[in-house]
Structure formats: structure tokens, C-alpha cells
Symmetry: C2
């Protein structure tokens, strides 16, 4: 009887701890150089509503004691399903007029990770990334192999036309007009820093992502994108790259990045944030700011959301705006677009 | 006249400096758990000869005042052309019986980078990675888009059958027999750490890579691979991932990794080495050892070659053997397989 009572007391204490354990989720919907004047009021209202819905979906999972992995997937799925963001439905077009999507996910306890690049038929690329992590021996699958795997796993498959929106199609036409000639031929020889400027100009709003901390103290991060307008068939950006667009480890932080993918890749930016926290003892904010300064030094633009195991959150961006939000415990969600 | 004399003197000084400036190249041909008894003497002799040829090709470039980029490409091409290593000709087979190759390259001055994943027709995947870096707006191309780009760039295109060797084909059959059922279905649920053990067993020798320092003081790194035997169509390992398999920046080090790609990816291992050098002031050796310890903590095996701007070199591996070599200035090349 004594042992049963002790066990019950321990259980009650654990439950109380779980009740009071901090949990939080932060999301982003891309960063870009635009101002309030560029965005119609109604569009702004709709996007804020989708960000709120995404945050609440993640928060519900966490409040119920679910994992940070489940939370970031729930949050990102909503952003993918909305035509307002450049991921899933509403993804930008390649120069070939197709939608090729990238996504990745990572969890902080065992550093498990999964990623897909160039998928064209999975309704929610983030669920494909998660399936690669949990159901395959691999971390990353690209192209048709990734689509085939998603189908085998019973994920929802859609016709490529599902992802098409008129707005993104028009954006591609404008990008092609601006480019004049095929874009890959006017790149200055060896001038990698220069190239990215033209890419950035197209990215008014972009990639989506989420980072979360669950009651068990585990971090997770997820990122999903349609990439960059007028990209070449087969182009892989930073979003599906573990260490560039996405990183999570309990000993430091969870990160999701957005911005000019090429410069983020060349900076291993997500892992750089984690390394600055681990190896230099920086706060998440200071680490994110410094990692983005290194991206900016390559003429890159973008933003990061970062979370540590105490639920401390950093938003950092070197653009004029980043769609972003935070839901911490039961506190009201905070959602912002501009500085 | 005075000015001409001064200019000539300056030129002579510069030339003398260039003559005496340190330069070095290191290469690897993969790490694995095997001993001298596992390797026929004649095969060992042939592999040592290819490593020597690769080193000398890189050294010739550097001695003549060429760039570290040119040197690592020259060295890696020779390893790709040899059927003795798992890159280019002699690449391992996917479960579908095809050869899908990955490669990446990075230079340390501006952190420019290029990568290809899943190419099937480019004779030297490392040249395709370099073309992506220098001739496209992107850092990474995957699948058919990467092959198409390589062809557009005038790189040497071969029939997929060029890469086939009987030895690798037999290796695939053995891997399939061992696996019994399709490999992706017997992965333990969520057991990412466990999964890699079966992958490692196949990797007797693998991926190739090079790091170099040129007389101008610039670092570069390159990595090329056929991946892992019996991999799924579309699988991307660490080798084409900037920050995982390859990294170079003049402010820290150049790195090329080899081993169980999934665990190297989940460790952002190449960037981790650089971060430990930059942020903790570690020597290249200590940084490589610690980064590999983090890979090993995920049940991963492999090795790294690391070089800094003084030409200091570190070889680190947690397997019994790693094909490796070093040519520093005009000193005799050092080539080793075992500890």
C-alpha cells in the first residue's frame, strides 16, 4: 500500500510538472523587402488569419501534451494549405512552369531529421519529410524518388495542378520578362554574391516554417517552400537542407530560416545559429542576428525563428518585413509582419 | 627608371613570396571497417597508386600557382575516373540497379559553393558541382535538372552504363540478400540510430574528397560519391550537402567528410568542424575528432580531412581504416590506409 501511495504521489507530481512545463510554438511565413503600402489590407488580414490558425493548431497539440514534432507539422500544414504562402498550394513556379517543393524537419532529442527536395505531387511536403525521417533509412530524398516514397507511405497525393495559383503564375511571367534572356546565362562569371540580388527581388513572401518546444522539453523545427520564382528545374535551396534551412537539437536551439536560399546554404545558417549558442554561449537572439549578418555579407536577405529549451524565442530578419507569430503557453498569440 | 626598378623589385619580392608560400593538398578515398587481411595485396597496391596520382595532380596545379579550386577538382577527377573508389566510375548501385551520384565543392574566399545530387550521366560529377557554382544562380541542382545543366555546360556526358562495375553490382546483390525484404520496410519505427548500422556494413570503401590550400592563401574542398549500396532512388547523402559533407572558408578550415551519410547530415559535421575552429579556437585535429564523436554518438562511422590556412592538416576517422594522403609543398607524398 505504501508503494502504491508513493507511486501515485510521484505520478501526481509528474502530472503537475507537465501541467506547468513551458511550451511554445513560433511560425514564419517568409521574409521580404516590402512595406504596408505594398500589401492590400484585405490580403494582410487574410495572411494574419492564416498565421493565427497555424499557431493555434500547433498550440493545441502542445497544450494537450503532444510532441513538438506533431506541433510543427500541424502548424506548417496549415501554411502549406493556404495559397497565401510560398509552400504547398501557392508555391512559386520554376522556369519550366512547374511547382517543385522542398521541405525538412528535425527533432532535438536524437537529432533525427528528414527532408524532401523537388516533390511535385505530395499535398503536404512537410509530411513527406517527416515520413523520410520516420519510415526510411535515409534523411533526404529528392525528385521522383521522393514522390514515389510519399505515395508508398500513403500520404495524400494530388495532381501537380493542385499547387497552381494565378498570382504565382503571373509572378513567373514578370520574372521572365525582367530576366529577358534565360537567367542562367547572364550570371556574372564567378560573381556569386551579385547573383543573389536578382533572386531576392522576386521573393516578396516566401517559405514557411515553425519551431516548437513541448512539455517534455523537446525541441523541433520544420521548414517548407516552393523555392524561388523562375528557378531551374532541379534547383534545391536551403529549406530542405539540414543545417542550412532547418536545425534542432535539445542542447542548443531549434531554427527555421527563410530568405535567399543560396546565401543561407553558403552560410550553413541554421547550424551556425546553433553553434553560436553552443560554442560561444550566445543568446538565441544574438546568435540569430550574427548568423544573418554572415548571410548578409554574401548579399543575402532573410530571417530566422529560433527557440531554446526554456521557450525563449528570437525573431531576426534583415528585410523590412517577416510574417511571424508566437504562441507561448496559454498567453495570447503575438503576430507581426513589419518591424 | 626609378619607378620601374621599384616595380621590378616589388614583383621579385612577390614572386619570391609566392615561391615560398605554403601550399598543400590532402585527399581521401573513403573510410571503413576493414583490415589489411580484407584487402588483396594487388588491390591495395592499385589503390595506393591512384591516391598518389590524385595527390600529384593536385600538387602540380598548386606548385604552378594554380588555385585550390583547380587543385581539388584535378585530384577528385582522378579518383572519380578510377573504378577503385565509390565515385564516378565504380559508384555503388541503388536498389533499382542504377548509379546516382552526388558531389559538392566550396571555396574559402567568398564561400562560393556548388553541388549536384542524383546525377546519372556526367562523367565527372565534381565538374558539374563546380559548374553549378560558377555558371548558375544556384548552389545545388538535383536529378534530371542537374544532368541537363551539365550537358548545357558542355561537360562530358556518358551513358549510365559507363559507371557500372561488376564488383559493385555483386555488392548490390549481396546487400539485397542480406536485407531479404525491401530495406525501407524493416527499419525500426523511429529508430534512426539503429538504421545506420546496416548501412555502414556495406561501406567498405567509399566517397572521395580533397581539401587544398593554394599559394594565394585560399582554401577549397570537394567531395564526390556514388552514395550507399542499395540506397533508394532519390536518396541524397551528406556528400552534396554544403555544411555536412563539404565546407570551406578561409577564416577557419576546408573539410571533406566520408562515412554513413545520414549521421553526418544529422550532425552538420563539416560545418561543425569549422564552427569548433572558429568559435572555440580548436585545432583542426581536435575539431575533427570532436565533430566525429558527435557523428559516432548517432551510431555513425566515418572520417574527415581538414586543412587550415597555414597548411596544417588533420585526418580523423572512427573506423579501422581510411584511404588518405597528403602532399605538402615539395615534400614526398604521404599515403596511408590503416591507422
Amino acid at each position: 500500500m505504501k508503494r502504491v501511495a508513493a507511486a501515485l504521489a510521484a505520478l501526481a507530481a509528474l502530472s503537475a510538472q507537465a501541467q506547468s512545463a513551458p511550451f511554445a510554438i513560433a511560425v514564419h511565413g517568409g521574409a521580404g523587402n516590402f512595406t504596408r503600402a505594398d500589401l492590400p489590407t484585405e490580403t494582410e488580414r487574410q495572411r494574419l488569419a492564416v498565421l493565427a490558425e497555424s499557431l493555434e493548431a500547433g498550440r493545441r497539440v502542445l497544450a494537450a501534451g503532444g510532441t513538438s514534432l506533431d506541433a510543427v507539422v500541424a502548424a506548417v500544414r496549415i501554411l502549406e494549405d493556404s495559397p497565401h504562402f510560398n509552400a504547398g498550394k501557392g508555391s512559386v513556379f520554376t522556369s519550366a512552369g512547374t511547382n517543385e517543393m522542398d521541405a525538412s524537419i528535425m527533432e532535438g532529442r536524437e537529432r533525427r531529421a528528414g527532408a524532401v527536395a523537388g516533390v511535385t505531387t505530395v499535398r503536404n511536403p512537410i509530411t513527406a519529410a517527416r515520413a523520410v525521417m520516420e519510415k526510411s533509412r535515409h534523411v533526404m530524398l529528392a525528385g521522383r524518388g521522393a514522390d514515389e516514397f510519399a505515395k508508398e507511405q500513403g500520404l495524400e497525393i494530388v495532381a501537380p495542378s493542385y499547387f497552381r495559383t494565378q498570382e504565382r503564375w503571373d509572378q513567373l511571367q514578370r520574372a521572365k520578362e525582367r530576366a529577358g534572356t534565360p537567367l542562367d546565362h547572364d550570371a556574372p562569371k564567378g560573381g556569386a554574391a551579385k547573383k543573389t540580388t536578382t533572386l531576392a527581388a522576386d521573393e516578396k513572401y516566401g517559405t514557411v516554417g515553425a519551431v516548437a518546444l513541448d512539455k517534455a522539453g523537446n525541441l523541433a523545427a520544420a521548414t517548407s517552400t516552393g523555392g524561388i520564382t523562375n528557378k531551374r528545374h532541379g534547383r534545391v535551396g536551403d529549406s530542405p537542407i539540414i543545417g542550412a534551412g532547418t536545425w534542432a537539437e535539445n542542447e542548443s536551439v531549434a531554427i527555421s530560416m527563410t530568405g535567399t536560399g543560396e546565401t543561407i546554404l553558403r552560410s550553413a545558417a541554421a547550424h551556425d545559429v546553433a553553434a553560436l549558442v553552443k560554442y560561444k554561449g550566445y543568446t538565441p537572439q544574438k546568435a540569430a542576428d550574427e548568423a544573418l549578418a554572415r548571410v548578409k555579407a554574401l548579399d543575402g536577405r532573410g530571417g530566422a525563428i529560433v527557440m531554446d529549451r526554456t521557450g525563449e524565442v528570437a525573431f531576426s530578419f534583415n528585410t523590412t518585413a517577416m510574417y511571424r507569430g508566437l504562441a507561448k503557453g496559454s498567453a495570447p498569440a503575438e503576430i507581426h509582419i513589419y518591424r
